[in-house]
Amino acid sequence: MIDKLIMYMQFTFVQYALIVGVLIALCSSLLGVTLVVKRFSYIGDGLSHVAFGAMAIASVLNLTNNMWLIMSVTIVSAILLLKTGQNAKIKGDAAIAMISVGALAFGYLLMNIFLTSANLTGDVCSTLFGSTSILTLTKEEVLLCIVLSVLVIILYIFNYNKIFAITFDENFSKSTGVNADRYNLLIAVMVSVIIVLAMNLVGSLLISALVIFPAISAMHLFKNFKMVSISSAIFSVLCAFMGMITSILAGTPVGSTIVAVNVVSFLLCYLTGLIRGRLSK
């Protein structure tokens, strides 16, 4: 098996997939901690459905490079959902549900009406579940993913303290002079970028797993925000790496294999936290 793995690692498309997969998992986990604490866990799912709708529009318009349209629409949706913060009339879960199902329905409707592809079912299935999208990346797409991921990581590190402040108590942060609206906007943009990139890795329906599971797993082991963030990143990267390796060795869909590994990781962390809690008593 090791020989086979070494042989597989020599393929360029496998190297591309691992690089992009690891970076996306890292960025998703960092933002995931903030989203989970702010009770916006399901925003990954919502925004990915918006991205699916935008992709459908781009397909109908026959755009050769649809990434920019998808990202723009997703950013606008994320701003509408997150920037309003805690004082919105339509609260987080309802807003996410409205935008999410609406975009998904309209997207699929447009693709059916205008029939832009010879294999509509395959394209939709691949976009929703991300079976092999991560293995069909071009060099330009990989470079774009790297640039955007590095940018997100740098922005997160530089604004860590402010993000921490608005995550736990937005109103208090505002009262102490923090421009919460600006940082909500920043989080919205970063989340949008990562969601669009993550669609290639796990597909639209499974993106929430990349956001939620590493953060929740880390929260069962650590109580400190910094330690949760760091361990969430480590779990996410390891799970994504192991998921991709398992997928290419066993011939299973990449997206669902990564999520399955994340679930196993969560269960292990949950049990560890449980045992540690009982022992400390």
């Binding site: 393929f11 360029t12 498309f13 579940f129 079976s131 293995l135 071009t138 290419i248 011939g251």
Partner: protein, 163 residues
């Protein structure tokens, strides 16, 4: 501390960029050399004539990715022997009456399909020894291109059906 971490992240990104730019790292897929002990064949092996790119040794996920790579960068594979396992698909052009054979592979979820066209060698009697639509086949041939109706198509030339 933040600057150090950011610098580290940038350095890692630059290293990754540099690796991505390395076009010399071509896919090294399972390759068999035939008659390697024969000196004449060794010369042929050195030129790649007897190399077989055996996709049957890869998992389903890998096969789909590699076939995609072949179809996206076909010129890199011209002249190479490719062995592929999949389902036989037959297409008849209503205008010209020509019949085309292809070996189709699917991804792990079996919702996306792609394949490579093949033309069996003259050793095969048409239609008695040709595969039927939907048959599971293993075909090996030399990857080549042809020009038809103003378009370039890629296929496996002088293909043989393997067991």
């Amino acid at each position: 501390m933040k600057r150090i971490i950011s610098l580290l992240v940038c350095t890692l990104a630059i290293i990754t960029f540099a690796n991505c730019g390395n076009d010399k790292s071509k896919n090294k897929i399972p390759v068999k050399h035939t008659n390697a002990e024969n000196s004449e064949s060794q010369m042929e092996s050195e030129s790649g004539e007897n190399e077989i790119i055996d996709l049957t040794l890869l998992s389903d996920t890998m096969v789909y990715g590699e076939v995609y790579t072949i179809l996206m960068a076909p010129d890199d594979y011209i002249g190479k022997n490719i062995k592929i396992e999949g389902t036989c698909d037959i297409y008849e052009d209503d205008t010209t009456g020509k019949i085309y054979y292809a070996c189709i592979v699917s991804d792990a979820t079996a919702c996306c399909f792609q394949g490579i066209e093949f033309k069996l060698s003259e050793d095969y009697a048409y239609t008695e020894q040709y595969p039927c639509l939907g048959d599971k086949i293993c075909v090996e041939g030399k990857f080549d291109s042809y020009f038809e109706d103003g378009n370039t198509y890629y296929y496996l030339r002088d293909a043989q059906l393997a067991e």
